[in-house]
Amino acid sequence: MTPATLDRREVLSRLFPNHEDYLFISGLAGSARDTAALTNDGANLFTMAGTMGAATSMGLGVAMCAPERKVVVITGDGELLMNIGSLATVATINPANLSIVCIDNGCHGETGGQNGHTSIKTNLEMMAKGAGIDSTMTIATEADLSEGSRFLNEATGPRFIQLRVKNGPPSDFKRNMDPAECRIRFRSALQP
C-alpha cells in the first residue's frame, strides 16, 4: 500500500466545489470538523459528536425521503467499521442519490491516533464492493481527486469513495454541537 499523501483539510473542497448543491450527513470527530469547514456549518449539514456508526444509516434515511436531492455521507474509517453492515443495507435499497465518502486516515485521530484496521490489513473499498455497492473508488493522490469529482457526478449511485489521507489534524472549525438545534436548522432549510 502506497503511503497516503493527501491532507484531509483540503480534500472535501476539491470533491464538492459547490457544496450547497448537496445535503451532508457527517459522523463524529474529524469528519464532522472537515465537513463543517466545507459548508461553514451550513443548514445543508447535520454533524454528529457521538452515536459513532450512525452516519451512513442516517444518510440513507435522508436519501430515501429526499429523492430529488443529492445526499452525501462523510464518515471515517473507524466510524464506518463500527457499523459496516450499513453498507449492505444501502446496497439492498440502492438509492441513486446517495454517495458515501469515507475519510480514511488509518487511525483514531480523536482519541490519540491509535492505529486502525485500515492501516494494517482492512480494505474498505473492497468491503463496500462486497456489500454490493457497484460504484466504488479509492482516492489516494492529487490525480485521483479530479477523477473523484467526475465519479461523484457521473457514476451510478449509490457510490462509495475510500478517501485515503495522511494522519494529520482535521480542520480547525468549531461547529454547533447542539443536536436538537441542528435538527431544526436542517429541517427548516429543507422544508421552508
Binding site: 434515511g61 435522508v62 430515501m64 425521503c65 436538537a180
Partner: protein
C-alpha cells in the same frame, strides 16, 4: 415444530394501517416472528418501503435521517435488539428526533429459551433509562389505543416511544 405458532394475521393489518395513517412510509426491521406480518404488509404496500437492517441501531439512525427530510419511519425489532440501540437513542433523548420502536417481546411471559430472559427482562429498563416512552400491548383491546398514543407522542409530541408487543399478547414461542 420449526415455525413460530404466533398468529399475527388478525391484528397486524390494523397495526400497519394505523402506522400508515400516522404518516409512516419507511418500515426498517431486523426480521423477527412477532413483527413478521407487519413487515409483509410493508413489502406488499405500494406507498411504503421496507428496509432490511443488519442491526437494530441502523434503524434508529434511519428514522432520524427520515425526520431530517420530513419523513416518518419506524424500527421493528425483537426485544433482544433493544440491547443493540441504546447509544443511538441519544438522537432521541438529546437531539429530540422522533423515534418509534416496534418491539416484540421474548424472555417475557411463558418463555422457554433461557437465552432470551436476560435481555427480555432488561429491555424495558434500558428503554426507560434512555427516555423512551413505553406503550404495552397485553391484549388485542390494547393494540389500537397503544398504537395511536405512541404515534401521537412521537410524531406530534416530539417524544421517542416503543410499542411493546408482550408475550401475553403474542403467545410464547414453542420449541
Amino acid at each position: 415444530m420449526t415455525m413460530s405458532s404466533i398468529d399475527t394475521g388478525d391484528w397486524s393489518r390494523q397495526l400497519f394501517d394505523d402506522l400508515v395513517a400516522a404518516g409512516v412510509t419507511l418500515f426498517s426491521y431486523v426480521p423477527d416472528a412477532g413483527n413478521k406480518r407487519l413487515i409483509e404488509h410493508a413489502q406488499e404496500h405500494n406507498g411504503v418501503r421496507p428496509i432490511l437492517l443488519t442491526t437494530e441501531e441502523e434503524g434508529v439512525a434511519v428514522c432520524a435521517g427520515a425526520d431530517l427530510a420530513g419523513g416518518k419511519a419506524v424500527v421493528c425489532m425483537q426485544s433482544s435488539g433493544v440491547g443493540n440501540i441504546p447509544n443511538f437513542l441519544s438522537l432521541a433523548n438529546g437531539g429530540r428526533f422522533p423515534i418509534l420502536l416496534m418491539v416484540s417481546m421474548r424472555g417475557d411471559y411463558g418463555e422457554q429459551n433461557p437465552w432470551q430472559y436476560p435481555m427480555g427482562q432488561a429491555a424495558e429498563p434500558i428503554l426507560e433509562a434512555m427516555g423512551v416512552l413505553l406503550f404495552r400491548v397485553n391484549t388485542l383491546d390494547d393494540l389500537g389505543p397503544a398504537t395511536r398514543a405512541a404515534t401521537s407522542a412521537v410524531f406530534k409530541g416530539g417524544q421517542s416511544a416503543a410499542i411493546i408487543l408482550t408475550q401475553r399478547f403474542l403467545g410464547a414461542k414453542p420449541f
